[in-house]
Symmetry: C2
Subunit: 319 residues, 2 copies
């Protein structure tokens, strides 16, 4: 949520010369995303987002993310399109950083999610999975079991400073997940971070899915489990069944969940909750200097895990 | 340069209901200004800036700033207009902070200033002074002699940690200025902070003068002296005579400088340089936690003072 790299007007104009994108009429650094520098650029032709990838992004992964975005945009879904320059290149170097000019999407992200928003997100997620069914590239999910194990090791000594007993809670949960994590589910390309701040709405219509920088290859139903955690709990971190019902039903309408997914779904939800518990815990214990956003409370996701432990099967989510 | 106060979508929509400004179609926190939270808002009608005034802004001063902006906009100059709600109110409370919806201006601020930019700024500054000639409100300049004296007291003990001898350099300069500061110059409402990041251009045309939150009542020529310091030195902090010549000449074309102003002008330039030396020094010694921008080097303005000390009269600036 910050602009780390400043792009001056002359550098911007030279950069725009590579494109058929008009001349700059306005250029504002925007507070979007925690990881990268983002500018909202208006030109005589259109509006764009200009993203410079900062050090937390692995440059080797960028072509994958951009190709994924382009693939989805090509299918007509409301996702940002990486703009190619006159030589056909999307990924550039600007002010010393990897950078990409990206189409702008209108819409506003919502803070209070309703049943109708959840229905729209369920539909959008399924359509995105369908659109990506013929996307050929692969990228392992580095925030699955192996990644969790590493985060657990990095936070084990200090986790109890956040909450007494947290460390053993995490270890127990991880051991359970390691023993029960499925390997036989329909797999494909997933967003892996479809939180409310990554979805733009106009009214209850999804007009943008953004921030594909956790995109990877994994179980499709795991992406849905992430959405359950992200969209279906209220401000007090209590489960809201009506939201989950709409989200899952609309997903299932556009991509039918198979029996193996339905059966294991609560475990996927526990895994998704542990993933965000761990990254939040790590960020909480290792605050980034100069970050404007306060780290989010990891314990919100401990509460979600405790809830998911009480759920028997998918049917229990959609009562 | 940050968004400190988050405005959620429901709060935004309720806020917009007070106005005849359309429905939100996009809403992005922007990295503009160091002091306040700013959002770029697109609606079904137009684009706006939504500003929330954070703790460094004195709420009692806000009506003055907004009235000043409206006065200039009413005269047809390219400055942002505070939007009044259906009850005629411009200053609001939003998310617990004073706030104002402001018209959006296109244009891009320049980092490398040219002679042509300086000519345009000289003209814009004179036209703004002329437009404000019948603005009736007054606000003392709290960053003139008294304010400098306070900043000197606050930094005296630690200034030499930045550069050996800086404290005595500042004291000497202040004593000189106190003895020579003019009180007989044409006075009026000034911008007092017309740096390159507060001017938007399309090509070499000024399309926006922004950030009126240092606006006050003071000698008009002092505003010009601030611009000399802000616009007429290069990246190595060396004076660029051709820029100053164009800036002063174009100012003088639209508002004739009187002999008293011409005579004392180098002193005003020294005062303006000391003002920014002191505020930069204070910010350098007291970094704001979580600020994204690194504090600017105060010594850039020591170098400017040393230059201005060598200048005999205004004619020497416009050789």
């Amino acid at each position: 949520m910050a602009v780390y790299t400043k792009v001056d007007d002359q550098t911007l104009n030279q950069f725009l010369d590579r494109y058929d994108a008009g001349k700059a009429t306005s250029f504002k650094g925007i507070a979007e995303g925690v990881e990268n520098s983002n500018y909202l650029l208006s030109t005589t032709k259109a509006q764009y987002i200009l993203t410079l990838y900062e050090k937390r992004a692995n440059p080797e992964d960028l072509p994958y993310f951009l190709n994924m975005m382009e693939h989805i945009a090509d299918k007509g879904l409301p996702s940002p399109r990486p703009i190619r320059d006159s030589e056909g290149k999307a990924l550039q170097i600007l002010s010393g950083k990897p950078a990409c000019l990206i189409s702008f999407l209108s819409g506003v992200s919502v803070d209070e999610t309703s049943d109708a928003h959840c229905a729209a997100v369920g539909e959008a997620l399924a359509l995105m999975h369908n659109a990506l069914a013929d996307f050929k590239e692969n990228r392992p999910n580095d925030l699955s079991l192996d990644g969790w194990e590493k985060l657990i090791a990095d936070t084990a000594d200090t986790a109890d400073s956040v909450s007494s007993g947290l460390s053993s809670f995490i270890t127990e949960e991880f051991e359970f997940l390691k023993a029960h994590w499925p390997t036989n589910l329909p797999s494909g390309t997933i967003h892996a971070d479809l939180f409310p701040d990554n979805v733009l709405f106009t009214g209850h219509k999804v007009t943008g899915i953004i921030d594909f920088y956790f995109g990877c290859t994994d179980a499709l139903a795991y992406d849905l489990a992430i959405c359950i955690n992200a969209w279906c709990f209220d401000g007090n971190h209590e489960f809201v069944p009506s939201r989950a019902k709409r989200l899952i039903e609309m997903y299932d309408t556009h991509r039918s969940l198979v029996p193996a997914e339905l059966e294991i779904f609560p475990v996927l939800c526990r895994g998704a909750a542990l993933r965000f518990l761990l990254t939040r815990l790590y960020d909480w214990l290792n605050p980034v200097e100069g970050a404007v956003v306060n780290p989010k409370n990891p314990l919100d996701y401990k509460k979600r895990i405790e809830f998911h432990r009480t759920v028997k099967d998918t049917a229990s989510y959609v009562v």
